[in-house]
């Protein structure tokens, strides 16, 4: 299996532990990642579509030439790309205009044939959770994990969870179970983490972060897992501020999806970069080591 790999900015920037964890895990699974280097940021829904659509069409044109599916490791990259791809695929006139105005000078054109999938979807839809299960050497026994999706992996539903792909609504839960962990469901698992309004409305942002992590904790979770590094920036990076805002301790470790997979595949917490998180991951390391001992 080989994919054109779009790592996104955050996996090398604000969450530098994510990129190596994803590479190590993909390698272990025999998934070949051909990294896209000569491409731009997806725009993360912040840049105006008028400029991010051409930038993303350029990326997709390059992937199209490679004849591969594109893999992302970020809910936000995935959402932005799926939406851009939808506009480009469903409106040939629009696509032609972007091809002519922006891509032709570089000898590129996009014909609208590329498929884009998050690593989480690939695990279930292409790799197969049963095959993943066969490789688990350290089941996450005793670990109670709260799934947290990130908005853009679920909405808008007609694009992110189309007919025939309904499994995407519960794939994170299934993955946790496949790896031997126990799922802790929260009402906010599909909601916004608060990151997008951190600069405009900090109080509301921290309230969201606090609500999600405290609910998980109240329900007995030892950690939370997310396929979105922007959610991680909020849920891990801003958790201390959220605790202050809520006037309560939280201390809930937040894992990136590939880290959780890697731990079950036998990699050490250090290999997976758990020491780089702002919220201490000691408790889960202890639980896992207790089981391994």
């Amino acid at each position: 299996m080989a994919y054109a790999f779009f790592p996104g900015c955050v996996s090398k920037g604000g969450c530098p532990e994510l990129y190596p964890a994803a590479k190590i895990v993909a390698d272990k699974l025999n998934i070949e990642l051909v990294e896209l280097r000569d491409v731009g940021c997806s725009g993360a829904g912040v840049l105006s579509q008028e400029v991010s659509d051409p930038v993303n069409a350029r990326t997709l044109a390059k992937v199209e030439k490679m004849g591969m599916t594109m893999m992302t490791i970020c809910s936000t990259c995935q959402g932005t790309f799926t939406q851009a791809n939808h506009r480009l695929q469903s409106d040939p006139e629009y696509r032609d205009r972007i091809n002519q105005e922006y891509l032709a000078s570089e000898g590129l054109r996009y014909d609208g044939t590329v498929d884009i999938k998050h690593f989480l979807w690939i695990l279930d839809e292409e790799y197969g959770l049963d095959n993943l299960k066969d490789l688990v050497v350290h089941p996450l026994e005793g670990l109670k994990v709260a799934p947290f999706y990130g908005c853009y992996l679920r909405r808008p539903p007609e694009l992110m969870v189309p007919k025939g792909f309904e499994g995407r609504k519960t794939v994170l839960e299934k993955t946790i179970e496949t790896l031997g962990g126990e799922v802790v469901n929260t009402s906010g698992k599909g909601k916004c983490c608060g990151f997008p309004i951190l600069s405009s409305s900090e109080d509301n942002s921290l309230a969201m972060c606090g609500d999600h992590t405290l609910e998980a904790k109240d329900k007995g979770a030892n950690c939370m897992v997310t396929p979105c590094p922007l959610c991680h920036l909020e849920l891990d990076g801003k958790q201390e501020d959220a605790a202050r805002h809520k006037k309560q301790d939280i201390d809930l470790p937040i894992l990136h999806l590939p880290q959780m997979v890697g731990l079950a595949l036998g990699f050490s917490p250090r290999d997976m970069g758990l020491h780089k998180h702002l919220v201490s991951t000691e408790e889960i390391v202890n639980i896992l080591e207790g089981v391994r001992a």
């Binding site: 900015c9 955050v10 090398k12 920037g13 604000g14 969450c15 530098p16 532990e17 280097r37 000569d38 491409v39 731009g40 940021c41 725009g43 993360a44 829904g45 912040v46 840049l47 105006s48 008028e50 400029v51 051409p54 930038v55 350029r58 105005e101 922006y102 000078s105 570089e106 908005c151 853009y152 909405r155 808008p156 539903p157 909601k191 916004c192 608060g194 990151f195 997008p196 309004i197 600069s199 405009s200 409305s201 109080d203 509301n204 942002s205 309230a207 969201m208 609500d211 990076g237 501020d241 020491h275 780089k276 998180h277 702002l278």
Partner: protein
Amino acid sequence: MEITLKFYRFSPGNGSKGDFQEYPVEIDESATVLDALMQVKEDQDSTIAFRGSCRTGFCGDCTMRISRRNRMACSTTVGAAQNEGTITVEPVRLITTTKDMMYDLDTWVYDKYKAVEPWIETDQKSPDKEHVVSNKVVQDLRKVMSCTMCWLCDEGCSTMVVDRKFVGPLALTKAYRSVFDPRDNRTEARLKNLSEKNGMWDCCHCYEASEHCPKGIDPTERIFALRNKAIKANAGIPTVRNHYRSFAKSVKSHGWLDEARLAIETEGLTNIKGQLKQVPLAIKAFRKGKRPLPYFLHEKREGRDRIKRIFEKWEENE
């Protein structure tokens, strides 16, 4: 079919918190939940209070939480709503009631609606000729005008859960209608108004509103459109404006996002208090080996000149 209708009763002033009352109902499964409620009111208990008028999903009156899902009573069949012969009917959760299922609409709908000044204003008192609006624009506006003010988007909104003062997607959808009407000429003042506290910048663009809108209006995209217009018109709040600018500048010059610089520039370089706010997190992150590399230490991406050209072209097109 025979069903048990569990209907939420609440009377202000009697000190109770509200509770369910059960009514047995014999009704066809293809009838709507609103039909069932009317049947109870006519045949069994005239004191139950709920809203509903058009019965065709047109007036937005009959929003309820039916068997634990928020929906319109007139567009939900008894067959679809029942769960082992029981249907529960209760108020949606983020809105207060004055009795049973009667919502306090002034507080939650009309005040917010009024706050966005949902009308058209022009300079000309009496136009000297017809103001022709293109078909394309009318089609777009008609979609927005089909909003029934059912409140399902506000009820599903992520921000509303943590801050009820947020103006909300319903009112912002109405605001779109005024801002994007070419006959209106108060665009700048409107965008400024929408950028006030509890305004459109509190939306976290989670697409919940779009998922919940029964009319397919896509409120989230409408809010995006309003905000993009505000950025262009230089009307947003300063930190957000800086955030957008810095984001675009970073991608334009390096092809990707420079988060360290984004955080600094968002607060504004001369905003000392804002800058100091960043320091504790930056130190902690740095100790953990997490500090994002400044852009000049990132590997140079090969395509960045090409991406820069796309930005330049876009700016030319503006």
